[in-house]
């Protein structure tokens, strides 16, 4: 029994793994691969239906590129703050981690605010999901993206709140790491959407 006690109850050796990637990080990468296909199918649908709506309003009637550029910039900045947050946590700077993560939450919420504004503005101008193929494919694509952002925001709020409830340190960084991966992915998807849906029509 003494040899067993010598192993220590409080500290169990990290278990053997056959690769250097933490389990949850690998899981997140695999999840993002599937999410990629999901957005790919929606973007594909949008592209197939591009130019095929039988009635308007049409994209050129509605898109406000300067405004959407601002919201894109906000989302990009949030990714930058995410990098700072992860770096802070890895260095055990907990209050900085909380600060930068709250920044991501705020910027993400601002982005969502822009989305809500844009959707209600388009609806005022007569674009609903039932109006035409553009409406259906646009709302489903950007709406799903918006839900992804909202889930990310909720997740980050949970992480910040949890850091007050139980001790959080650099050893927990992997949990922020995967949230950051998710966040960057959602940002990259937005870049693709912004390019393919908004910008391409204006070139």
């Amino acid at each position: 029994m003494s040899q067993a006690t010598a192993l220590g109850h409080a500290e169990h050796k990290p278990p053997y793994r056959s690769s250097k990637l933490p389990d949850v990080k690998l899981l997140m990468w695999v999840f993002l691969a599937s999410d990629c296909m999901m957005f790919g199918a929606m973007i594909g649908t949008y592209l197939v239906y591009k130019g095929r709506s039988l009635v308007g309003p049409y994209p050129l009637d509605l898109f406000d590129i300067p405004l959407t550029t601002v919201s894109t910039f906000v989302l990009l900045m949030s990714s930058f703050l995410m990098v700072l947050a992860l770096d802070a946590l890895r260095k055990d700077k907990i209050s900085q981690f909380r600060l930068w993560t709250t920044g991501v939450i705020v910027f993400g919420t601002i982005f969502l605010g822009f989305q809500v504004f844009e959707f209600s503005h388009f609806m005022e101008l007569g674009l609903y999901q039932k109006t035409n193929l553009f409406g259906s494919s646009f709302y489903m694509l950007t709406g799903t993206h918006g839900i992804h952002v909202a889930v990310g925001v909720l997740w980050l709020i949970a992480l910040v709140v949890a850091s007050y409830i139980r001790p959080t340190a650099s050893k927990d960084a992997v949990y922020l790491d995967i949230a950051a991966l998710y966040w960057h992915f959602v940002d990259i998807v937005w870049i693709v959407i912004f390019t393919v849906v908004y910008l391409v029509d204006f070139v």
């Binding site: 029994m1 040899q3 067993a4 192993l7 109850h9 169990h12 050796k13 278990p15 053997y16 793994r17 056959s18 690769s19 990637l21 389990d23 690998l26 899981l27 695999v30 999840f31 691969a33 599937s34 999410d35 296909m37 999901m38 790919g40 199918a41 929606m42 649908t45 197939v48 239906y49 095929r52 709506s53 039988l54 609903y128 999901q129 039932k130 109006t131 035409n132 193929l133 409406g135 259906s136 494919s137 709302y139 489903m140 949970a158 949890a162």
Partner: protein, 637 residues
């Protein structure tokens, strides 16, 4: 020296019981979940077989009206849905759940609660789809549900909604299990278990999991588009708005073709375990078997439009997809050659498992050949949507996957239960099942060539179809008897079979190096892994000197700590509760009951948080490696 679990007490705590129904609902043990998958999928197989029996009864004679056209449409739709999504695919997943960890020397999957969640989503969504029968009628649009048959105007009833919502939920379960398997295979291989030493079944499940990751999302999107069209006035497939039915076909088949490889690759893996074991030789050409599996997986995404040769895609598209469909036949053929080469020169033991493997070889090769035939686009334009195609895919999926999994039952039930299935009873079942199968489906090639379309509730008399249909239906009776005999074999074996012992087959892979059934923690001690077929080389160490062994024996044997310490995961209610909330939400959306849907969403969020914060649970084990003796067990915290 066990001690109590230190996780949160009360309702949200991690349960610790190991007996009774609630222990099965809360289990995260990959072996129990594997058994749940296998039992559930077998029940759905029986349901699908009853549907098939009714179909064949209706079609036995021309111009019969045993069932109405509407009911007939529901029968073949549910038959396809059930067999593909609720029976055959989950059988592969169930076997993977049980035998991938054991095969790679792991004690469970990477994320045990996620595993449980995957199972419960499958079971509950399958039940949900079946409730459609009593709630206004099952879906009647074929398992492919081509738009605009699924539009609200063409199909106002609830059946289509059960299809769309039920299948979308079902897909979530499949996706998470695939993710779980990938992380397990990458991270949980025991020391010494390199990728090229893994059992081929583990490799095939690895590839299958990637196929699932990439193939299911397009299906999910297509399903959601139809749900949106029907429930929220979207216009994706509304012809009057310019919606294009062909988009559904593209999205569906970008999923649907990889799906059939998702079904067959696990079967290929099982065959690659059974044939070497009963030939007493290693699998011939293991690296090529791995590579060809990867190539099939990859090409599986490049052939989808061969299901659309008659939709007017044009000669360039049809030529491209004909060529890619030819190409995918090559690695498949190579696998068949390698299996025959494994048998060649061996000492072949004709157990029932091997008999099923041989039946697989014959049936699958025939199906593969008709596959090459339908890859010829002009030929397919004759036989598409006829019984020729029905014959083709039943040969590869029924003959291919089903026969294999029946063989897997004989092979692996001894390990799972500790009891052997009767070889004698098994042979009786085999000799009804296999000939019955061929009597059903071989005439269907001819029915298609003579001109009988699919999905028709009846056919004109005296135009050359009567004899083949009658023969096919008689075959269904024969195969049905075989299925009953198989059921009897199962029950007799599980209740009164001979004790199996650890290694009844003189096996080659790690699952035979532990008890039958294995303990909750899998292995007392994970054996040293020195080569492919790691158990076999431990039994026949002279093989290591023959140049087969590529590693560093000294380095791999150097891990000589006296004790091994590991953590076994704890049970949990959260996966089941989360799955239940999702299915509840599905009903909410289906009935447009937004209160129910929002309640389900709130519960979902609650249970996800409870899942995240319910604490570690489980136990830490310490084992003395030399003897396998458990030295201590403590609750997790």
């Amino acid at each position: 020296m066990a001690s109590a679990s230190a996780s949160a007490p009360g309702l949200l705590g991690r349960p610790t019981g190991t007996r009774g129904i609630s222990s099965w609902i809360t289990t995260v043990d990959h072996k129990r979940l594997g058994i749940l998958y296998l039992v559930t999928s077998f029940i759905f197989l029986l349901a699908g077989s009853i549907e098939a029996g009714l179909i064949r009864a209706q079609l036995a004679l021309p111009e019969q009206q045993l069932v109405s056209p509407d009911f007939f449409n529901q029968l073949f739709t549910m038959h396809g849905l059930t067999m593909v999504f609720l029976a055959i695919m989950p059988m592969g997943i169930g076997l993977a759940n049980y035998f991938v960890p054991l095969g790679i020397g792991a004690r469970d999957l990477a994320f045990p609660r996620l595993n449980s969640f995957g199972y419960w989503i499958y079971a509950l969504s399958g039940i949900m789809i079946y409730t459609s029968i009593f709630l206004g009628g099952a879906p009647d649009v074929g398992w492919v549900a081509y738009a605009p048959l699924t539009s609200l105007s063409a199909n106002p009833g609830n059946g289509v909604d059960f299809y769309m919502i039920g299948l979308a939920i079902n897909g979530i379960g499949t996706l998470v299990t695939a993710m779980n398997l990938i992380v397990t295979i990458v991270n949980f291989r025991a020391p010494g278990m390199t990728y090229m030493r893994m059992p081929l079944f583990a490799w095939m499940m690895f590839i299958t999991s990637f196929l699932i990751i990439f193939a299911f999302p397009p299906l999910t999107i297509a399903l959601v588009q139809i749900v949106f069209d029907r429930s929220f006035n979207f216009v994706f497939y509304v012809t009057q708005a310019g919606g294009m039915p062909i988009l559904w076909q593209h999205l569906f088949w970008i999923f649907g073709h990889p799906e059939v490889y998702i079904i067959i690759l696990p079967a290929f893996g099982v065959i690659s375990e059974i044939i070497p074991t009963f030939s007493r030789k290693p699998l011939f050409g293991y690296p090529i078997m791995v590579l060809s599996g990867i190539f099939i997986g990859f090409m599986g995404f490049a052939v989808w439009s061969h299901h659309m040769f008659t939709t007017g895609l044009g000669p360039v598209a049809n030529a491209v997809f004909s060529i890619t469909s030819f190409i995918i036949g090559i690695p498949t053929g190579i696998k068949v050659f390698n299996w025959i080469a494994t048998l060649w020169g061996g000492h072949i033991r004709f157990t029932v498992s091997l008999m099923y493997a041989i039946a697989f070889l014959v049936t699958f090769v025939l199906g593969g050949i008709t596959g090459i035939m339908v890859a010829v686009a002009p030929f397919d334009q004759q036989v598409h949507d006829t019984y020729f195609v029905v014959a083709h895919f039943h040969y590869v999926m029924g003959g291919g996957a089903l026969l294999t999994f029946l063989g897997a039952a004989h092979y692996w039930i001894p390990k799972m239960s500790g009891r052997m299935l009767s070889e004698r009873l098994g042979k009786w079942a085999f000799w009804f099942l296999v000939p019955g199968f061929h009597i059903i489906f071989f005439p269907q090639h001819l029915m298609g060539l003579v001109g009988m379309p699919r999905r028709i509730q009846t056919y004109e008399a005296n135009i050359g179809l009567d004899f083949f249909n009658l023969a096919s239906s008689i075959g269904a009776g024969v195969m049905g008897i075989g299925l009953v005999l198989f059921l009897i074999t199962l029950v007799q074996g599980l209740l009164r079979g001979k004790p199996a012992g650890d290694d009844p087959w003189d096996g080659r892979t790690l699952e035979w190096a532990t008890t039958s059934p294995p303990p909750a923690y899998g292995f007392h001690v994970v054996p040293k892994i020195l080569d492919r077929d790691p158990l076999w080389v431990l039994k026949h160490p002279e093989m290591l000197e023959g140049g087969h062994y590529q590693g560093d024996l000294a380095a791999e044997a150097a891990d000589d700590e006296e004790f091994e310490s590991f953590h076994m995961p704890g049970a949990s209610w959260m996966p089941f509760m989360t799955a239940l909330s999702i299915v509840m939400g599905g009903y909410g959306v289906l009935y447009q009951n937004w209160f129910l849907a929002l309640l389900a969403l709130a519960l979902l969020i609650f249970f996800v948080f409870a899942w995240a914060f319910e604490g570690l649970g489980g136990e830490h084990y310490t084992v003395r490696k030399a003897t396998g003796e458990i030295v201590s067990v403590e609750g997790g915290h």
